[in-house]
C-alpha cells in the first residue's frame, strides 16, 4: 500500500510573525521556515505504518517555491521514501492544492492520503476535505488514532463532545490532529541518506491543473493592540461599568 503525504513549508512555529509594511501578507523572506507541524505528524504516521509492514511506500509531496524541496528532505530524513515537488510561482490556495493532489493521486494510485488537518500559516483546514470531495473518497478528519485492517481503516476523531470512531473503506483521506502521534527526531544517518532519495519536480501544467488563485486577499493587518485595563474600586462600580460602558449586562 502506497501512502501519499503532502507537506507544507510554513514560517516556523517559533517565529514571531510580522506583517509586511504594505499589508499584502506576512514577512517570509529571511524568516526561518519549516514543515507544518501537522504534516510532521502525518509523515510520522505514514512512516510508522511502513515500519509495521502495512504500507510499502511513503511519498512526500510539497508544492510552491523551489525551497519546498528542503521540506521534502526533512520528510525523507524522517523516513519517507521519495518526494514530489510541484513547483509554482503562483500562490497555491487549498482548492488548487486539492486539484494538484487529485492529479497526483490519479498518477500514483495510493490507498491512503494523510494530510495535516490544517497548516499553521493560514489555518484554512480545507485541503483534505476538498481532496476527498474531488476524489469521491471517504474522509476521516482530525484523527487522533488510526488502525488499518484489510481494506478498511478505523479513524478516531476529536470532536467537540469527545471522540468519535469512523470505519472507512480504503482508499481514504485522513487528516491528522496533534494527538495522533509524537513525531520522531530524524537521525543523523537518515539525514545523510535523505540526500540520496529521489525528488521528482513538476509544474502544475504537467498535471493539467490551473492553479490561479480563486480567492482575493484584501489586506493583512496586526490584530489591534490590547488596551490597558481599568481598576475598579467596588463591585457596584464594576456592575455599573459593565452596564453603561461595556454594555454587556
Amino acid at each position: 500500500m502506497k501512502i501519499l503525504v503532502p507537506v507544507k513549508r510554513v514560517v516556523d512555529y517559533n517565529v514571531k510573525v510580522r506583517v509586511k509594511a504594505d499589508g499584502t501578507g506576512v514577512e517570509t523572506s529571511g524568516v526561518k521556515m519549516s514543515m507544518n507541524p501537522f504534516d510532521e505528524i502525518s509523515i510520522e504516521e505514514a512512516v510508522r505504518l511502513k515500519e509495521k509492514g502495512v504500507a510499502t511506500e511513503v511519498i512526500a509531496v510539497s508544492m510552491g517555491v523551489a525551497a519546498c524541496a528542503e521540506t521534502i528532505r526533512t520528510a525523507l530524513a524522517m523516513g519517507a521514501d521519495r518526494g514530489i515537488l510541484v513547483e509554482s510561482a503562483v500562490e497555491l490556495q487549498p482548492l488548487a492544492v486539492a486539484k494538484l493532489m487529485k492529479a497526483l493521486v490519479d498518477k500514483e494510485q495510493p490507498q491512503l492520503v494523510i494530510l495535516g488537518k490544517q497548516a499553521i500559516d493560514d489555518d484554512m483546514n480545507a485541503t483534505g476535505q476538498m481532496l476527498a470531495a474531488l476524489l469521491g473518497w471517504p474522509q476521516g478528519t482530525f484523527a487522533s488514532k488510526i488502525e488499518i485492517s484489510g481494506d478498511g481503516i478505523s479513524v478516531t476523531r476529536e470532536i467537540d463532545g469527545g471522540l468519535e470512531t469512523l470505519a472507512l473503506t480504503l482508499p481514504a483521506i485522513v487528516t491528522s490532529d496533534l494527538r495522533l502521534n509524537e513525531p520522531r527526531y530524524a537521525s543523523l544517518p537518515n539525514i545523510m541518506k535523505a540526500r540520496k532519495k529521489p525528488i521528482e519536480t513538476m509544474k502544475p501544467e504537467d498535471l493539467g491543473v490551473d492553479p490561479t488563485p480563486r480567492l482575493t486577499l484584501v489586506s493583512v493587518a496586526e490584530p489591534p493592540k490590547r488596551q490597558a485595563g481599568k481598576k475598579v474600586g467596588s463591585v457596584a462600580e464594576l456592575v455599573s461599568k459593565l452596564r453603561t460602558e461595556a454594555k454587556v449586562i
Partner: protein
Amino acid sequence: MQTYKAPLRDMQFVIHELHDSAKLTTMKGFEEVTPDLIDSILEEAAKFAESVLLPINASGDEQGCTYENGVVRTPAGFKPAYDAFRESGWTAIAADPAFGGQGLPEVVSKQVEEMLCSTNLSFSLYPGLTHGAYQAILDHASEELKQLYLPKMVDGTWSGTMCLTESHCGTDLGLLRTKAVPQPDATYKITGSKIFITAGEHDLTQNIIHLVLARLPDAPPGVKGISLFLVPKFIPDASGEPGMRNGVLCTAIEHKMGIKASSTCQMSFDDATGWLVGEPHKGLRAMFTMMNSERLSIGVQGLGIAEAAYQSAVFYAKDRIQGRSPSGTKSPGQAADPILVHPDVRRMLMTIRAYAEGCRALGGWVAQQLDQVVHADDPAVREAAEDFTALMTPIVKALFTDIGFDMASLGMQVYGGHGYVRDHGMEQYVRDARIAMIYEGTNGIQAMDLVARKLGAQDGRLLTRFFEPVAAFLAANRDDPNRDDSSLGGPSLGGMARALGHAFDTLKTTTAHITAAGQRDPEEPGAAAADYLRLFGLVALGFMWVRSAQVAQRKLPTANGDARFYQAKLHTAQFFMDRLLPQTAALAATIQSGKGSMMEMAEEMF
C-alpha cells in the same frame, strides 16, 4: 529562566558566509557535505538539544550523580536522553565511516557540540570523552583493538574515558605511578589509582573503555616513560559482547561546584587487564595527538555557556520591568520600562553577544583549519593548517573558557538577585562554566604553551600563519576610501579596519618584546603569558569581527528579510571595536611592565 534556541542563523553565517562552506565539497571525503546538508544537520541537532537536553539541565544539576557500592547513577532522564542521542546517531557525527561514523567535518560537528554545551554541559561530557578515547584508539591502537572497540564506541553503546590524573600529579604527568606489568599472553596487568576521571563510571552504556596512562617496569623516569593502555570495564567475550568484569572499580565520585550531572570518578585499577595502545613509553604523545581538536571542544564549552547566558539574559531584560528609561518613559502602559532600556543592561548584553558571536566565528576558523590538516590534498596547505591550529589551540581553549565564565557571571548580573537564587538557572551557568578554565590543561598552562612553545616553534613560522592573513586583510581594507562609506546602513569598515590595525600593531610589538625579554630572562614570558594570550585572542576576535562586518555590509543591500540579522551583526561589530578591543592597550602596558612587581617580593612575605 534557562531559555535556548540554537543560534542557527549565526551558525550558518559562520559556516557558509564567513568560512565559505561551499569549498568543503571539493575536499576528499566531504564531497557530499553541501550547504543544505549542513543546514539540515544543524536544524535537527538543534531540535534535539532544545527539546531533549535542555529540559534535564536544571534537574540534572539539582539531583547530581549518586554513588553507591561502586555504582554511579546519573540523574533522572539522562539514560533515556542518552539512548535517544545514540539512536539518533549523534555519537557518530565526526567519526570515521570505516567504523560506522558519519565522517562529517569539524566545522559542522563543533557547531553541534556548541548546542550540546549550551543546553546541557554535563550531558555533553559523556559523548565528548568517548570521542576523545575513540580518537586515541583510532590513531594508535592495533587493527584488532580498533575492530573490537571502535564500532561500539562510535554507535555509543560503549563509552570511553581518559585516565591521566593521579592525586599527586595533574599538570606534571611525569610523576605518575600507575604500573603496567607485561603478561605472557601479550596483555598487561594495570595497578594504580586515578582521580578526576570524567565518566569513569555511570549507567548510560553497557561498557566503559578506559584509556589509562601507566608505567612499564623498564620505563625511564619522567614523561618519557609513560605508556598508554586500553582497559575495558567488562572484557569483551568471543562474540565481542561485554564479558568478564575487569579489575577496575570506581571508589568514589567528587562533589563539585558545577557540572554535577557529569560523574567525576576516583578509579582504582587492581591487576586490571589492559592492552597496549601505540608504542611502549610513547603514551603521552599518543594521548595528545588529538589535543588540538579536544581543546577546541573545551573552548566551545565556554562559547556554549556564553550563548546560553546571553539568551536567558535577553529574555529577562525584555520581560523584567523596573524603573524608567533615562531618556523618558518607553512603555507608558506599564508600571515601569523593561530593563533592556538601560545603557548598563545594554552594556552587559552587548558584551556577551559580541564575545559569543566572535568566539563562534573564531572557533569556526580553527575548526575549518582542523579539517584542512586531515583532508587537504596539497601538503603545503596541510602544513599551514597544522601550524595555524597548533598556534591557535591554547588561545581558543583559554580565551573561550575565560570568556564563558565571565559571560555567565554577566548574564547572572542582568537578573540581579533573581540570578543569584537557583530558580532561574543563571547561577548554574556560572558554576558549570568554571571547570572549563581548569581541565584539559589549566588556562595558565595554555598561556605558557603559547608563549613558551608556540611563539618560537619553527623559527616563528606558526605565528606567520595568523599574522599574514591579518596583515593582508588590513592592507586590502584599511586605506581604501570607499570602505569608509557608511551609507550602506552600517558603520565604516575602514574605521574598523584601522582600529584592528592599531591592535594588531600592539600585538606585534608585544610579541617582539616578549621574545626579546625571554632571551634575557626565562621568567619574563611566564609573567606575560596570560595577558599576552588575552591580547592575542582579542586581536583574533577583532579580525573575525571586521571580516564579519565586511560580509554583512556586502550582503545588506540585497538582504530583504534578513536585513535585521546583518544590521545587528554590524552594530555588534562596532560595539566590539569600540568597547572591547581597546583592552589590548591596557594588556600591552601590563605586559611591558615586566615580571618585577610580582617576582621581587620575597617568598616569606607571602
